[in-house]
């Protein structure tokens, strides 16, 4: 997993609630058997004017000028500002892979859907929950200032705005530790292999039908 420590980057506002994973990466791209290459199809239905299919030369497709990530001031976006229930819908981790491949490493929103939130941490994408009023304020600031950037420091659990204002955020300690160090969850769990075996041995006595 790609480690995350600190990032300063352009912020883009995606001003709609319930952004679902079907919108983030449409189903036709889930047919890929790889983890990479989803970036050009991030928000495909909103981003392009034509119908997207796997295997197209995406650089030749007509862009939707209305879509936020297509606007010149939001080129090279690394931080996305969202609304409530971000990432709802399917469990497709392809949604997170698409953000990573596009170059977005942080999403800030008042709330996230559980599975997307969890998938993000497993891939080095940092989802940050801030209260609604703070998020509203950030939307106003981003829209008012072209080139608006935020600095996100995971070590310090702090976001710094261009005016120097600091916004603290909360993140689960285990997830923070893994993200800071880019650690593989499976490797950490396998350190407890003996405990898993002991559980199985005990469970086999009390619920043997689960093992037959």
């Amino acid at each position: 997993m790609q480690a995350f420590t600190q990032l300063s980057g352009i912020v883009a506002p995606l001003d709609r609630p319930n952004v679902d994973t079907d919108a983030i990466i449409p189903k036709q791209y889930l047919k890929s058997i790889k983890r990479t290459g989803f970036g050009p199809n991030l928000f495909d239905d909103w981003r392009y004017l034509d119908a997207g299919e796997p295997g197209q030369d995406h650089s030749q497709r007509a862009l939707n000028p209305e879509f936020v990530l297509n606007q010149s001031r939001y080129q090279d976006t690394q931080i996305l500002l969202g609304r409530d229930n971000f990432g709802c819908g399917s469990s497709r981790e392809h949604a997170v892979w698409a953000f990573m491949d596009y170059g977005i490493r942080v999403i800030i929103a008042p709330s996230f859907a559980d599975i997307f939130f969890n998938n993000s941490f497993n891939n080095g994408l940092l989802p940050i929950v801030l209260d609604e009023a703070t998020v509203d304020g950030l939307f106003d600031e981003v829209e008012a200032q072209p080139g608006y950037q935020l600095t996100v420091d995971l070590e310090a659990k702090c976001i710094t705005t261009p005016s120097g204002r600091e916004i603290a955020f909360d993140v689960d300690e285990y997830r923070r530790y893994r993200l800071l160090n880019g650690l593989d969850d499976i490797g950490l769990t396998l350190q407890h292999a003996d405990a898993i075996k002991a559980y199985e041995a005990q469970r086999q006595k009390t619920a043997p039908w689960l093992f037959s």
Binding site: K27, K31, N118, N122, A195, A207
Partner: protein, 471 residues
Amino acid sequence: MAKTLYDKLWEQHVVRVNDDGTALLYIDRHLVHEVTSPQAFEGLRLAGRELWRRESIVAVPDHNVPTTDRDQAIADPVSRLQVETLNDNASDFNLTFFKMNDVRQGIVHVIGPEQGATLPGMTIVCGDSHTSTHGAMGALAFGIGTSQVEHVMATQTLVMQKSKNMRVTIEGSVGAGVTAKDIVLAIIGEIGTAGGTGYTIEFAGQGIRDLSMEGRMTVCNMAIEGGARAGIIAVDEKTIDYFKGRPFAPKGEQWERAVEAWRDLKSDEGAVFDREIVIQGRGIAPQVTWGTSPEMVVPVSDRVPNPAEAGDEVKASGMQKALDYMGLTAGTPIEEIAVDKVFIGSCTNSRIEDLRAAAEVAKGRKVAGNIALAMVVPGSGLVKKQAEEEGLDTVFLEAGFEWREPGCSMCLAMNADRLEPGERCASTSNRNFESRQGLNGRTHLVSPAMAAAAAVTGHFTDVRQLTAQEA
């Protein structure tokens, strides 16, 4: 101390508690399909890791499979490669596997219970958000991402934070013509699509107890559309009867022991929930979604709501966006909305009971002239077989429906079944998101009986009016 059903299931599966309060949770059953598993198998290979417990996995292709011409190879080469990759992985890792043309093949959330591969008291995961379906049998079942699929393959566990407890009680029975789908849509309309985020929802009360196992699966299936990763329902005699004799269910003395343990799979009297919702069953009417989120739902007798009456700017703008996308005008009676296509299927509503309910409405009627396509996609080869034994296929075909092969089909349109831009669909699936059923397609979520009613009248119709005529 009195415990909730979720508390019990959780405690029975904790391997160890980590210093930060998260737990290593043991997983009994791992369901695998072709879309979310290839990268996990590849990850195992790259790291040189083995499966922890091969026997815990049941694999089946469902998302990409065509619903016609199954004797031929899958036409789309990208879909074909994904299904073939699952075939290869199942063979390399020696998995229990139902290949595309096996009669036991079907939607993973239909075949799990059907085979008795998912059982009460289990922890069940799958790289698919609708894994919540299996909570209907008193199991803790939830969807996971591909990294977690790999984690379960390699360790048989997941690192989890325990959710909070929510109980949704349907007090009293629902009226005739009101189904499990209407109940769960009404619940989502009440709590919102994020209402269950961070919770496991237990569905309880007379309205839930009245439901068959199939109906309970429909309710739990859509727990995720209310934001909850897992929905659960207490075990009762219906649950136990349902599993008796299923191929993977325990037999003989093991069965007796299992049943004894399963009888305790209910919340204790006096168990405390972090959030309680009570809905009167008699107040629930057949539901139709009008927007692009499952919470945008109204009774069929209602009208398309007006954003100006939302009372909240962000909400009003979301509603207006949805109306624009759906091509609807505020104030239009739902029953005046004409549809172009009808889809009866998906992990929400493709079980035998769903097909019976739709057939009852279709029987002796014809699909309306304005309907371009009305299709029925059974949830599994065995559901299809049973429906054919009951003559339901004939009912559908005579009415002008297409009768297809099992799979996820037009619920998410990964195969060839899809809406064209602007087409409006009465669908028994679970998500009405933009472009879910095809680019710029318009989805209205309904029950199987309501979908059939829309098919034969050409527009949304309160199915109770059709069935009342017969009575």
